[in-house]
């Protein structure tokens, strides 16, 4: 049973701890820099410059959000163990699962905070260059926020039982595989081999379908985005993250923290 009155202090403390991390600011600085530099890159094309500015802006938000989620997220639990502060925390009437969920929510809030900063830079550059902004952009950035729900859950899951280096490698690996999962599924279906098709279907079900959260192209080109393209990925992200956190909780319960 997760009690929010126990989780919330951990989460807020995690935010306070994370925003003191210099890596966070370095990544945020680069993200905002790339969004600004997009104006210069777009000037190399004599047409469709506004589209290029927004493509680069959304891509850099996606890339740097991933960077922040992975490189800041994977060290949070390890840091508590290394500083031995985890013993003090867990000596309170607080379960390990609550601690883990608190850490997760704290990191998620931090990443969303950074996402909001990058969004402000993106909107400012779009307005300054006259690039059109629409509801599609809100949908694209909102779904990116939901993709981060899954990525942060992955980072928390791996950091529950392994070192920061391995956790970051595993998270990045699953992120890459998550963007390829649809192709893997299609490959299996086209192969004509039943066992491979079955295996690829299982892989598709197991890996996160991160392409479901990518509507950047539709947003930039003003293409219609169906309601189901928004609601289903949101539900999917929540379900996937909850499943990962439950699994992480099981593993973390049995982990020897000495």
């Amino acid at each position: 049973m997760i009690r929010m009155r126990h989780v919330w202090p951990i989460a807020t403390n995690t935010v306070r701890e994370a925003i003191r991390n210099k890596v966070l600011y370095a990544l945020l600085f680069f993200a905002v820099g790339v969004i600004g530099v997009a104006v210069v890159i777009a000037s190399l094309s004599y047409v469709e410059g506004q589209r290029i500015i927004q493509d680069i802006g959304l891509a850099s938000i996606r890339l740097f959000s991933l960077g922040i989620a992975v490189f800041v997220g994977v060290g949070l639990i390890h840091g508590e163990v290394e500083r031995r502060t985890i013993y003090t925390i867990l000596s309170k009437p607080l379960s390990r699962s609550e601690f883990l969920v608190g850490k997760y929510l704290g990191l998620l809030m931090t990443v969303w905070l950074q996402l909001a900063c990058m969004m402000i830079a993106f909107v400012a550059v779009s307005l300054a260059t006259g690039a059109p902004l629409s509801g599609g952009h809100v949908a694209a950035l909102g779904l990116l926020g939901m993709e981060l729900v899954v990525i942060v859950a992955l980072a928390t899951f791996f950091s529950a039982f392994t070192s920061p280096l391995l956790a970051s490698l595993f998270t990045l690996g699953i992120w890459g595989a998550g963007h390829l999962s649809r192709d893997l599924y299609a490959l299996g279906q086209q192969s004509g081999n039943e066992s491979f098709a079955g295996a690829s279907t299982w892989m598709y079900r197991l890996l996160p379908d991160l392409e479901a959260f990518n509507v950047s192209v539709q947003a930039v080109h003003g293409l219609p985005i169906a309601t189901s393209e928004l609601t289903l990925p949101i539900l999917y992200a929540v379900g996937y993250a909850v499943a990962l956190l439950i699994a992480a909780g099981w593993i973390f319960q049995g982990r020897d923290l000495k």
Partner: protein, 350 residues
């Protein structure tokens, strides 16, 4: 300590005063810094010299071998399709550069790049027409451009310009008039399409008014591009059409002359000479847009070989294509197609 010292005896290292030792340390530190600086300069010089030997080839210069297969790259973009598409679009612009025309090989390279661009992000707009403008140096290039335009039509069914460019390619380079008419007809019903497109369709279907069709296409192409080199080429075509119209006017006058006099003209000047002349004056044999300072003092001539009136400004009559190079190209492709068909028929009969 002081009592142990004897006069005129050199001091040991430990006995020397601190300031002496620190001066030595400072000298040693400066020496180390100097050596490090020298090594830094040497390394910089090495980098400079070596880099000057490496040719600064960009991806655009490296040609087709460095363009990825679109079906592979679209699987490994990891959600960054749009930004990678933009990257290859900038490479395509770089590949064309400021050149007036791209040769057939470079055309293949540009075609591959635009294929990647439009595979990764098929909702782009201009790259389809960019391909149509630049892929004209071989029949294969034109057909590649047409395939890309068809992809553009699939993703932008409301965009009349993609159909217009496809129609132009079919008419101008491939001489497939019926297919061209179909595309222009489809374009004419789309939002923003110019009002003259239905007339263009009628002319294409009649196959009798090639210059009217070419003129209409060229006027639209001049208006549709900001590239001064391309505009100049299209305007040159319009100038040639203007002279062709004048020559056709003189052809009519020549017929009247024959009917009246029962004989052909000796020179083009005969049309305005003698009693009851057919014409009061001859039209200018040079384009109206030509500045007086650039006039070549051209004249109307009677080409004995072709038995037709020509302006000395061009030396020949207009045959659909707006310049000799593209005319030769289209004729060559048509001949190759014809030859290919004959060979196929021969193979079939065997």
């Amino acid at each position: 300590m002081r009592n142990d010292l004897k006069p005129n005896q050199p001091l040991s290292e430990a006995q020397r005063p601190d300031d002496f030792r620190s001066r030595k340390a400072i000298r040693r530190a400066w020496r180390r810094r100097g050596l490090a600086g020298l090594a830094f300069c040497c390394a910089l010089a090495l980098v400079g010299v070596v880099q000057a030997q490496i040719p600064p080839l960009t991806r655009a210069d490296r040609g087709e071998a460095f363009v990825p297969d679109p079906s592979i790259i679209e699987r490994i973009t990891l959600g960054f399709d749009a930004v990678l598409s933009d990257y290859y679009w900038l490479v395509a612009i770089q590949a064309v550069g400021g050149s007036a025309a791209v040769d057939a090989n470079a055309g293949g390279h540009v075609g591959q790049l635009i294929d990647v661009v439009t595979t990764l992000n098929p909702w782009v707009g201009h790259p389809y027409r960019f391909a149509a403008v630049w892929l004209t140096e071989s029949e294969e290039n034109v057909r590649t451009a047409n395939r890309l335009l068809e992809r553009g039509i699939n993703h932008h069914p409301e965009e009349w310009r993609n159909r217009f460019y496809l129609g132009f390619n079919l008419f101008y380079y491939l001489m497939e008039y019926e297919s061209a008419a179909e595309q222009i007809q489809a374009a004419s019903g789309l939002p923003g399409a110019p009002a003259y497109l239905p007339r263009l369709v009628a002319r294409l279907r009649s196959e009798t008014a090639e210059i009217d069709v070419a003129e209409a296409f060229l006027i639209e192409l001049v208006q549709g591009t900001d590239d001064p080199v391309l505009q100049e080429g299209y305007r040159a075509g319009l100038d040639e059409i203007e002279i062709e119209r004048k020559a056709r006017f003189l052809d009519e006058a020549r017929k009247i002359y024959r009917d009246r006099r029962g004989q052909d003209i000796a020179t083009v000047e005969s049309l305005r000479e003698g009693p009851n002349p057919v014409l009061v004056g001859l039209p200018s044999p040079e384009p109206d847009s030509l500045p007086v300072a650039l006039s070549r003092q051209s004249r109307w001539l009677l080409d004995d070989e072709q038995d037709e009136i020509v302006s000395s400004f061009y030396g020949s009559r207009y045959r659909l294509h707006f310049d000799a190079v593209s005319r030769a190209k289209a004729n060559g492709w048509a001949a190759a197609r014809q030859e290919g068909t004959l060979h196929a028929e021969e193979r079939g009969s065997l």
